[in-house]
């Protein structure tokens, strides 16, 4: 499939070359239609981008570096990216309601949540510029379920922000990337819970929205969206939940 597309794109490239030739002829320049390889000759035309044809010297450098296939930066188990907070391991099992809720293998699971201050990774401001592309997508991750339907992420215990209870977003896809479910994981509340122990990090819990008043979780009277969370602030927390989807 990939190869086919690649070949197709080569073909498309070949088809568009005459257009570039025409454009360049108008400028009466020597034409070197060689985007794919480094041209060491005395070509005078290069095509920055895709469809522009400007009249500058052609690349005259040793070829390389050669690009290699790279996965999305989401694909990792540890999604912390240097964000500070209490360590949290999240074990999420995906079950298939079309198969007695047995573990669903090879499902793609995306999760994302806010940091200790309640902020998500995203483009900020109007400039939308990012300096550090190592950690742009902090606290966002993607894993593929094992034979038991399990994925494991290492992260930090989420903070909270106005209007929402503590939560983790989850998007579950089948192996082909087709969406099966978009949902959220809620946390147990009350004395002795992780939410109480973390106490909203530096913010405290004044003004906190509890599950019963949360616009996403308030209808979950059976508590199926609430994870089991164990551990403490010294050793870290472990979250476990099973989410069933129709696959």
């Amino acid at each position: 499939m990939e190869r086919k597309n690649f070949l197709k794109s080569l073909l498309l490239g070949a088809l568009t070359t005459p257009v570039l030739l025409t454009a360049c002829d108008k400028n009466e320049d020597t034409v070197t239609p060689s985007e794919g390889t480094t041209d060491s000759g005395s070509g005078t035309v290069t095509n920055p981008g895709t469809s522009s044809s400007s009249c500058t010297v052609a690349p005259t450098e040793t070829e390389g570096p050669f690009p290699t296939k790279a996965p999305a930066s989401y694909v990792r188990s540890d999604i912390t990216n240097g964000r500070s907070g209490y360590k949290m391991t999240a074990k999420i099992t995906i079950g298939n309601t079309n198969n007695n809720c047995a573990g669903l293998a090879n499902a793609i699971v995306d999760i994302w949540h806010c940091d200790a201050e309640g902020n998500y990774s995203e483009y900020g401001g109007s400039g939308m510029q990012s300096t550090n592309y190592q950690s742009v997508h902090f606290l966002r991750g993607r894993q593929v379920t094992d034979a038991n339907g399990l994925v494991t992420f290492t992260s930090i215990f989420p903070g909270w922000y106005n209007g929402r209870a503590t939560h983790i977003h989850v998007h579950i896809y089948n192996a082909n990337g087709t969406s099966l479910k978009v949902t959220q994981i809620a946390f147990p509340e009350g004395s002795g819970t992780a939410v109480a122990a973390v106490n909203g990090y530096n913010k405290g819990l004044s003004g906190y929205t509890y599950n019963s008043r949360d616009n996403v979780f308030s209808d979950d009277s059976a508590g199926v969206q609430i994870a089991t969370v164990t551990g403490n602030t010294t050793d870290g927390f472990e979250l476990a939940i099973k989410l069933n989807v129709a696959a």
């Binding site: 080569l10 498309l12 985007e35 570096p65 592309y133 997508h137 969406s179």
Partner: protein, 167 residues
Amino acid sequence: MAHRIITLCYRKVIDSSSVKPWDTLVFEDSYTEFKMQAQLYNQEKKYRTFAELLQHAPGAEKLHFLVSAAVIGYLQQLNEIIPDILNNLGKHFLRFNQFQFEIINSDIQDKTKHQVAFNFYSEPLVWHDTIQNYLLVSEKKAGEEEILTNLFQLQPYLNIHSLQTEA
């Protein structure tokens, strides 16, 4: 003498007609990621194009950011050198740390409509002179008598992004 400090922005457009290996990897992976992430804003499957999502689905503008994760790995492979833009010797000379990835157009059912762009923002340069349609620039460094310069041509998709005058 006053120094003019500029940064350049090169907007590299990638679409189905792109043929370079790096470009086609970016094209393929950003399209796959777009199709996955777009479902978050299209749970009723009402929309087909990126433009429709932007217009009707709240939050869909985050797709620029969300899809960018698919191409970060390729960005790292550039080793902070802006591609395609050459000095008059035919060598790459612009360095970048800042970038912005954008989806220009896309369609979940028609891959040929998929078009994305990287905006590469150069490190600050001193703009010494303009010779015909060439700019003479050097990297911004302090206190050297002889400075090494680059001569490059203004060209499509290359913009002077910012200008600052230093005494």
